[in-house]
Amino acid sequence: MDLFNAIAQTLDSTIRLSVPLLLACLAGLYSERAGIFDIGLEGKMLVGAFAGAAAASVFHSAYLGLGMAILISVAFALIHGFASITHRGNQIVSGVAINFIAAGSTIILGQAWFQQGGRTPALAPAERFEAIIWPGADAVRGVPILGPIYSELISGHSVLVYLAFLMVPFTWWVLFRTRFGLRLRAVGENPAAVDTAGISVAWLRYRALICTGVLTGVAGAYLSMVQNGGFVKDMTAGKGYIALAALIFAKWKPVNAMFACLLFGFLDALAIRLQGTPLPLIGRVPVQFMQALPYVLTVILLAGFIGKAIPPRAGGVPYVKER
């Protein structure tokens, strides 16, 4: 029973840890499917986290915080669009720039506005997204097997967690069942064809980047307003890059993205759980090994040893109307 509880708890923290990855990964999916590489997921998440926590603590409202997180994150996405779509700059360089601007400005503004060493004030319960307890969750907790699954895994998360998982089928539906999705995928594969059909490549790509900004904003808000009661400097800590890795791992498909993020979240949860405890047969596994595993797996996948990851064909190439 102890073992079962341990497993349930690990899976529960897997869900909590995969949510920001999943949101950022789906965010990257929109922009990369539209042919815009986005290394700036990390930075957009960071400004989202900061704006969310800052607005929530000033206006005492979680929803205003979320709105501000989305707004600022979209603004950064539009800067990326301005550089890489309008001015046809190098998309990777632009993404790198956004990450630095985000990392620096969140610390400077945080320190100037709140004077707590780059943190925002700790959020009160009303300023955060609280866990939603599903009906009967406490009653069935004692039931073996199914009880913990219902009360730990399904119930007791914040609204953003459910939103993140609902975004998976929604993204699938948008990409594969709507006209916008068809065009978005087309512009990532062959923008000239989209242009010939009389659709503006630039506007389509901007719209894809706005979707990206919205989702990274939610991801950031989750970090600072759900997982942690306030903003801490550099709190994304490479999650944007893991999300990028997960996106490649998922071969740019929404449902795969969910499984990739759950896998990477599980590795993270396992690393925390197993810290210092020896495993049977293998002995003590260094935590660092578990932390490096998502990156190693991604490199192996990219090398084409586990299936082949083929990115959208026009990815990273600015569109020029006439050559």
């Binding site: 550089a83 998309q91 620096g104 660092q288 090994f289 991604t298 490199v299 090398a303």
Partner: protein, 379 residues
């Protein structure tokens, strides 16, 4: 990179445009300073005064610049071959391991001038090794070098934490770092050069690695513009198709360029490890590898430009430290914003001002601009 633009006179291309980009970056940074509630002009004055006002400041500025010259050259070599090596951070970090092993083994038996060459070789070899796998994967399996080098940055960070905490940390010590190097692992300072000019220096970490950096800048210039290999790299960077047609082996040129790039990134570790801290500590690179991207973009991937841009960033780092004392609202992270803005304006938005400047030149004297889009710029 994307669209061919008409040719500008050299001084405008290499002088005017970077200066305009830098100016805009500073104006935007000035707005951030105002947002924080300080006077941007006073901040700039303190920054420059802190960096160049006294001998002490100059020595620190050049110390920081040393690291940035290496990381800038590393990015530039790859850029000339059309590759974006974003992994300088990890390559430099892992190179610390090589330097550490050499110094820990020889610091008690050899003088510094024998340890130094061995450490250079170790640093370059480790940096190159860390770039080799992404290079091979790009050349042979077509995996995107940007993604793999990012992944290798994180893998390097994990490896180094493991090595420092579980392997290299002396028994009984709490701090995750190696023991301090003895005399044989410490590089002599260069502060006397600045003192020749009458300035006083209490203690500053400027050391012989600075001279090595200048030598490497010259060697990179030689490599890129005066050797067959450099010509092949530039050809591949300009047009992979043309290079293939000319019989240049794609695999060979990508791997060689990345090995050189990685080796240069690796040498960056010599400066803090042997020149200043005299041990290998956690996170000793602290973002210098990424600064290289801004430095290379600012210096237009030319060694002279890179040295100048590195000194500029050295100034920002040193002056930024002074600024944090004078204006508590502004911490050193201001530099990270400026760095990001420079990358944005000099890199991603490099085409924003160019058409306007070309139009301006064309209206003044059409002959300087040439007639129609001339593709590429040669040198």
């Amino acid at each position: 990179m994307s669209t061919p633009y008409a040719k500008l006179p050299g001084w405008a291309d290499y002088g005017l445009i970077p200066v305009i980009n830098l100016f805009v970056a500073f104006v935007v940074a000035g707005f951030v300073v105002m947002l924080v509630g300080e006077n941007p002009l006073r901040a700039a004055a303190i920054l420059v005064e802190g960096a160049f006002g006294r001998g002490q400041g100059i020595a620190f500025t050049l110390y920081y610049a040393t690291t940035f010259i290496f990381s800038g050259l590393s990015v530039a070599v790859a850029v000339h071959c059309g590759l974006f090596n974003i992994g300088g951070e990890g390559q430099g970090y892992i190179a610390g391991l090589g330097i550490g092993v050499v110094c820990l083994a020889f610091d008690s038996v050899l003088p510094w001038w024998l340890t130094f060459p061995l450490a250079i070789i170790a640093a370059a070899a480790m940096g190159a090794l860390w770039a080799l796998i992404p290079a091979y994967l790009q050349a042979k399996r077509g995996s995107h070098i940007v993604i793999t080098t990012i992944m290798f940055n994180f893998i390097a960070a994990s490896v180094m934490v493991y090595m420092l905490v579980d392997v290299l940390k002396p028994a009984g010590s709490m701090a995750p770092q190696t023991r301090n190097f003895l005399e044989g692992g410490q590089l002599p300072k260069l502060n006397w050069i600045i003192e020749l000019f009458g300035a006083k220096i209490r203690s500053a970490p400027l050391n012989v690695t600075f001279l090595l950096a200048l030598v490497m800048a010259f060697l990179v210039w030689l490599l890129i513009w005066r050797t067959k290999l450099g010509y092949e790299m530039r050809t591949y960077g300009h047009s992979p198709k043309a290079a293939r047609y000319a019989g240049i082996s794609e695999t060979r040129i990508i791997i060689i360029a990345m090995l050189i790039s990685g080796a240069l990134a690796g040498m960056m570790a010599l400066n803090p490890v042997m020149g200043d801290q005299h041990n290998v500590a956690l996170d000793f690179v602290s973002g210098a590898g990424f600064v290289g991207i801004a430095v290379a973009l600012m210096g237009r991937s030319h060694p002279v430009g890179i040295v100048l841009a590195a000194i500029l960033f050295g100034m920002l780092y040193q002056g930024g430290a002074e600024l944090a004392f004078e204006m508590p609202a502004i911490s050193r992270d201001m530099i990270v914003i400026i760095q990001g803005l420079v990358i944005l304006f000099a890199g991603a938005l490099e085409h924003m001002f160019r058409p306007h400047i070309q139009a301006l030149f064309a209206s003044i004297s059409p002959r300087t601009v040439g007639i129609e889009a001339v593709k590429g710029k040669g040198a």
